[in-house]
């Protein structure tokens, strides 16, 4: 690697992969609970397993973002990281806090956890994805601030590239919008309104800036295309992201007590949200086709192309499927949402992190690229996981269409559980696709250990 301090990225990447494994294992538990309702009950009820599944996802993605930033920023800024020690200290604080939180979820009932951690001082718990106890939320703020301080000072003392600036905007936005997780008014409509300022403005807003800048960085490195061209694309993509995505928040304001004009604003702007993802796909393929060098790391290029395509399908196409208000009236809060969520998170954020890890990890381990043998395994894992998530999404979509029909559209609507029983076949198929995903993940991890002849740095 070019700068010694980039090495702090390594523990972040390793932790990210470890937590990813945990996320998938709990996903398999959840999938089984969908069909064998009493599986692990009452030891690990569904809500607990789901909290672990989604929180591990968020935390491993954050580890990936931080690791990616620590790797990328010194190279972009052409200077050592401001403080590698601070980065390492924050790594351990974040890891221990995250682990304690997960142990807390699993060890005691959630209400007890709330009592033990002082939820009554400031009631923030018990809202989807923001279930973390108050000390954990405060810990996230501390870690985020220390991280931003470190990254920002590094950029300020070095070269300020467009890629760094877009990344910084994304990361600062991430921290600022997280602050809304501390606002939980007793009025449930307001609660929900601002809950989305964290959740939507993260995943359909500032996180896409992080995604775009990571993608741009890896494309510059692997294709050798002129930085001016790539950065121009990056600006166009993030412009499209924010001009569609910010007002696009309105697609969450259809049925929660907010004024009905949001059905127009939300439908129109969120219907445009696939455009930046499409641009990202075109961007990735275009740059790879115009490449001026053959980078030995083929696997990283595959992830870069993959994240373009899969985020377009998962976030763009599957998001569009149910984003128009008249459609969403029937699909809101069904397995259609779950289908979209799975492919969008994998395609956009899991894959971009795996891309960054794929590119950076071999260099952090002292080589330009892994051995051919290792890369072949990694590419197998790419296809296994990607095809598995496509099938998970298709099965959940089928389940969702039937659910909507049986429970919402039919002349004689069925009760929720009756409808669920009728679509159990699709939940079984989803679970098997989940097993295939786990196999892919195991192959992925194996690719780090197979050895073979490495490409010299």
């Amino acid at each position: 690697m070019q700068y010694k301090s980039q090495a702090v990225a390594k523990p972040y990447f390793i932790a990210a992969i470890g937590l990813f494994v945990g996320q998938i294992l709990f996903g398999l538990i959840l999938g089984l609970q969908y069909v064998l309702g009493d599986f692990l009950f009452p030891a690990i009820p569904f809500n607990v397993a789901r909290m672990v599944h989604t929180n591990l996802l968020i935390v491993w993605l954050l580890f990936g973002f931080m690791g990616g930033a620590y790797y990328m920023i010194p190279e972009e800024s052409e200077t050592e990281l401001f403080s590698p020690k601070l980065a390492l200290a924050m790594f351990w604080i974040f890891l221990v806090a995250g682990a304690l939180t997960i142990v807390g979820y699993l060890a005691v009932p959630y209400a007890t956890l709330a009592e033990l951690t002082g939820n009554s001082l400031l009631e923030t718990m018990g809202r989807e994805f923001l279930e973390q106890p108050l000390p954990t939320k405060l810990g996230i703020v501390v870690v985020a601030l220390a991280f931003l301080f470190n990254i920002t000072l590094t950029v300020l003392k070095g070269k300020k590239t467009s890629i760094s600036i877009v990344l910084l905007l994304g990361l600062w936005g991430l921290a600022v919008f997280f602050l809304f997780s501390f606002y939980n008014p007793v009025n449930v409509v307001l609660d929900k309104f601002f809950w989305w300022w964290t959740v939507h403005l993260w995943v359909e807003g500032v996180w896409e800036l992080i995604l775009g800048s990571f993608l741009a960085f890896v494309l510059i490195k692997t294709t050798g295309v002129d930085r001016e061209v790539i950065e121009k694309w990056l600006y166009v993509i993030v412009t499209l992201t924010l001009i569609t995505g910010i007002i696009g928040t309105g697609h969450h304001y259809f049925w929660i007590g907010t004024p009905e004009y949001w059905q127009w604003w939300g439908s129109i702007f969120s219907a445009l949200e696939p455009i930046p993802f499409f641009a990202m796909t075109v961007f990735a393929f275009n740059m790879v086709n115009r490449r001026r060098r053959e980078h030995p790391n083929k696997a990283a290029v595959l992830w870069a192309l993959g994240t373009g395509v899969m985020s377009f399908l998962g976030a763009g196409v599957w998001g569009f499927l149910h984003t128009l208000a008249p459609v969403n009236y029937y699909t809101h809060g069904t397995q259609i949402t779950a289908a979209h969520g799975h492919m969008a998170f994998y395609g956009a954020y899991a894959m971009v992190n795996l891309m960054m890890i794929s590119y950076a990890m071999p260099i952090l381990r002292g080589r330009a690229a892994n051995s051919n043998k290792s890369q072949v395994l990694e590419m197998w894992s790419f296809w296994l996981m990607t095809v598995a998530i496509v099938f998970i999404t298709l099965f959940l979509t089928a389940a969702g269409i039937l659910q909507v029909w049986l429970q919402r559209v039919s002349d004689a609507p069925l009760p929720f559980m009756v409808a669920q029983d009728k679509i159990a076949l699709f939940y079984w198929m989803r679970e098997w696709a989940g097993v295939a995903f786990l196999v892919g993940l195991i192959v992925y991890i194996a690719s780090f250990f197979v050895g073979g002849e490495e490409k010299q740095a």
Partner: protein, 142 residues
Amino acid sequence: MSGAFTKSMARNIFYGGTVFFFLLFLALSFDTHSQLPKRDMRQNITPQVAEGKKLWEVNNCIGCHTLMGEGAYFAPELGNVVVRYGEEGTKAFIQARPKEGIPGRRSMPQFNFTDEQLDAIVAFLKHVNSINDANWPPNSQG
């Protein structure tokens, strides 16, 4: 994407567009806030409703259920549960959950709520049901 369209033009459109649409979002949010009192029934939020919301949160109900369509999709929508089961029926259902679950089936945990807590939870769910949410869900099954 070459020739006349330069990187600095792209950058300026990015900053200008972002600021413009964020301000538009703030304006819409501001307008929403002025309209909400007519829709969110805030005048009916009693201490009991507030207690019910707290119980809803600290027991992580959203981890299985949806409320106005948001949450997990493992268990039924509860924004309209008082329409479906009635107030007494809702309480009776919560109370009757077997501690060890139901063999082979999904089951809600037994939370051992007191009568006051059950009243508070139902008061909260009744309040949510009264919110003007554009006539969602489509029918009483949620």
